[in-house]
Assembly symmetry: C5
Homo-oligomer: 289 residues x 5
């Protein structure tokens, strides 16, 4: 069994292998023009698979990287992106793990398994993010929360697309009766399918929760506006009698009752306080506030 | 018929059984790494089933617990989580109920039936919760209501996932023609499928109602804000003429009509009251309030 | 042909029939534990059907009642709920209508047909309710409208569930090649399927309209708040110049222009009116109001 | 080939035909009880089709009318509603168009084609309506816009239902291998299917756009409320310093700085203007407005 | 192999070809009545395909153009719209690219490939537009943003329709076993399907993001209204004690404490400032603002 690890898709090595194993020109083109969707295609003589790995860079941005796989009778060819050291590191891990594997389909499974394992930490990251966002939306809804919700939404859309395609690949694999895959690999391929399907489920769940977080945001803002309005109205209610009464007593007219009395101020202040309390009581009583 | 009840998935007993009954290493791994989805897999020699039981702890939090089942020609193996006394208690109930059962598939059915019975009280609990939440949202929409709505939403998402997977298991079972399941068990397995499908229906209905409760919340808050605004506007309308008229009579200018009259105050107050009433009537008349 | 009308599911009569016709214990249990979903199950010797009838009680609450049917070679068994006189009355109607029927499948069809006929008046009732709710939401959005919208939503969810299950039953029936159903009944069973499918369509349409009514409610409240705000702002705009000008002339400072003039009041009032009109014109001109 | 044009479904002519061509009683009943869904049913000896035509009356209300068709070996029977002159006019058009047709299936196709042609002008009407509504919602959101949006929504729901059922009919027709339809009609029936499918697509698109118009409405109202609030706040900001300063100078206390100066008014007004401008600048500077 | 390039669908040339190759009259009609959906129809002797190309004009408006293709044993006929120079230019490009092709199916593939390539730049354009809209909605939600969101929504609906139909065409092609398409073209047709499916995926993603942008808009406006309300309330809170206190001291009553003191103003101002600060502290303390 030969495992050809191509680290630069533009290397002539790939052309040489294409000739040797009769790889279809469209597949070689796929290796060189990146940003494919995950897919699997059975050709005469080999199975061509595109897998997508994901990871978060230090800013929390979601990055995807392609990996192209050719599985034939006695060979595996892996083609990684030339500017993605993480992917190359992953290949080394696979190489270590598959040390004792003597069959091409075993190596092929190992690579798939390692690619699928890159999804879980990313999903866990978004699960935590959404938890935080929900709390923020509830307690302190700010524009930053909003932009973060939509950043996450965008990433989950990308992630769902990657996972949906990968699930289709895994589904195809667990049903295929390819001559290049031995029957004893079937439970393992089903296991990969189970993992991907569960991950996709999780993405759908996260999307659901995220849209919930947005609803919390809107409801929370509406609630706060309502509360601020109440404060403003209470202020208005408190001010109204005081201002009206003192304005009346400030008029330059004759005959203001009690204005000449030495207890004038006390009388007036009592009047103000009484009408304020009465007004608040009325509003409360009829549930107008 | 032998029923092996494993209470600790890490016990060497499980390894011994795996060897004796040729259980697949991936299934043993599934027993030991918990948090699987409910699933069913037919292997040569046995059927492997993962079931999820649910329950509410005293705070109302939703907990799930795995149960792994191996059903073979003449044996059943049940593996419960080692830190879940509820699951172990459930197994004892099953043991009691299946006292007279002499066939492995009968025991298998009993276990499934008891697991499925754990869903109903949880669903009833959420039905009541949503009822309460709807009333709160309508009568007294507070941030607490909001956070409770989203807590419930999260739990229903989890519950739906558990039930959807369990339904797939039940559906597989009622269609399978496994040598380990006798034909006379078919109506019973169909009965389990009916129960799970009905439970899943209920979850969908609860989710629908919950999203309705959120809409009530938002509409209710909007309505209250509208009402508070009206109160504020009425206050403003009442204050406006009083303040304007008394400010005018408070000016240090000459020629304020009636200011020198002994009925000055009465005149002014009448003026205020009249313009206030007129203003309110105009607003009401043209439906501006 | 024998038609056994069981009016009390707990009567020993049912046990006797179960023995005589070899009815499955699970089906007898279904008859006795109510609140089943509508379903159909073909067993050796008979077809077991659960139908749900619906009706509105005097308060407009939606009630459902189960009816269990066994159709065999030469017998029909109907089991109604023991506390539901409406269902028993319905059975009497069926008995009258099927007076001349000599075959079991004809009686079976009659019962189904009468059950399905209970849906239409309920749907008509909700159609009218939604019409009213839409008008209320548009013209006078009050919390009562909101709670009524959600009451109706809840009922439509229940109704959809009943109808969806009944459609599955009807669909099964029109495709089945049961020995107990004569070919000449096929157009009649297809007719039942058509009725139920149309009813289900109507429920979906009503749900769509109801969610529209909720949107009207929210938009209508938002619109009203906007209008109240405008009134408040116009009031503020009217008050502002009057209060500012009269406060200025109320200051205890020297050199207020025209304060000593005999036309002081006229001057000041003109000043107030002019600035108010100017302000309103500016707001209108720049579409700020 | 005989074409029987029944203009009144209750005429005994229909009974006569039913007897002659062995039409099923349920189909005759369908002809007489209107408001069927569009459907197609193959019976021994003939195909029974219900088609729905649509049109707008002068108020823009959507009306539907049934047309029932029986297609047999050598006959076509069309049954129109007795109170629908438009449908009878349509039949006359068909009669003219199918002047040279000598086969029953050709006449049948013509009738279907003319019925399907009634959908397009209605769809165009709603396309224009939604365009207008979107503009109104954006520029001048009023309750009338809202009620018009929901009127249109209701009609599109009805239209979708009609079209969905008609598409099912057309789909059945283009797949059927009926002895009454010649192979050379197949491309024409596929053409009808294409038309109906495209119309249904258009309805879905219109529904999508309409729900967009509602979102515009809500957003537009929210935006306007926001703008009115800003105006109110600016008014408040302008008034605040003026009122506070002039109230202070209106107090009956000693030692108001500059109150005795002949430039008192100028000083005070400068103070007011300065603080107003400062306040507005601060609000602007920190993006609080 | 003959390639007939018809630049004007109304030319008699097309009629001549229709006669020569026995093209169905409905297909010739489709060529002449534009605004078809993309579709594919296998007729005896040839495959008829309608493809839709898209492009943006200089104002950013989305334009679509039809291209009709007939593929037969030894001929290809392409019919472009007569008023669409872009389409004619595209045909010239295809002619150049397919210089060396000697088989009809190769030319056919080239045309399809070039048509499908027109989608990508349009999708990229909308991706950027949505990015901009999201930023605008977050930072500066204005009615213009709203109308632009709905313009884009409308275009994406059109685009989705075009792509969905084109995908059906491509799907049909990659599954068909037509005698006119050589087996070695299959990978290329699958490649076209992959491209269109990916484009359709992108449109769905863009629609999802766009609906997100609308949610940002609404939430952003709600947030701003909330903020403006807070400013207004703070202004009110600041003004309230100042106005009330100064009004009281402006009353024409006796016994105002400290009014005669030379420090009267200082006392009063201190009173105002203290109560303002106290009030703000209370509001802050109890999270009422």
């Amino acid at each position: 069994m030969e495992w050809h690890k191509i680290l630069d898709p533009n290397s002539p090595e790939l052309d040489r292998l294409a000739e040797r194993y009769h790889l279809h020109p469209l597949h070689i083109e796929d290796c060189r023009h990146r940003n494919q969707n995950a897919k699997i295609e059975e050709s005469p003589g080999y199975i061509f698979t595109v897998m997508k790995g994901v990871r978060l860079n230090s800013d929390g941005a979601l990055l995807t990287a392609d990996l192209d796989l050719f599985l034939g009778e006695n060979f595996v060819i892996t083609v990684v992106e030339d500017d993605c050291p993480e992917m190359q590191a992953l290949m080394e891990q696979v190489a270590k793990a598959s040390n004792g594997d003597s069959r091409a389909d075993q190596v092929y499974y190992r690579v798939l398994d390692h690619m699928v394992d890159t999804y879980l930490p990313v999903l866990d990251h978004y699960d935590e993010t959404i938890d935080t966002l929900e709390d923020q939306a509830l307690e302190n809804p700010a524009p930053k929360t909003l932009s973060c919700i939509f950043e996450t939404k965008r990433n989950l859309i990308v992630l769902r697309r990657v996972l949906a395609n990968t699930r289709d690949v895994a589904n195809h694999l667990q049903r295929t009766e390819s001559p290049f895959i031995n029957r004893d690999m079937w439970p393992f391929l089903r296991d990969i399918y189970d993992h991907v399907a569960r991950n996709l489920d999780t993405v759908e769940m996260l999307r659901d929760l995220l849209s919930g977080a947005l609803d919390v945001y809107l409801s929370s803002v509406a609630n706060r506006t309502n509360q601020v309005m109440k404060v403003l109205t209470v202020l208005g209610t408190v001010a109204l009698p005081a201002v009206v009464v003192s304005s009346i007593y400030g008029m330059n007219v004759k005959g203001l009752p009690g204005a000449e009395s030495p207890y004038a101020l006390a009388i007036v202040l009592t009047l103000m306080a009484t009408s304020t309390i009465l007004l608040l009581w009325v509003l409360k009583r009829f549930h107008w506030l």
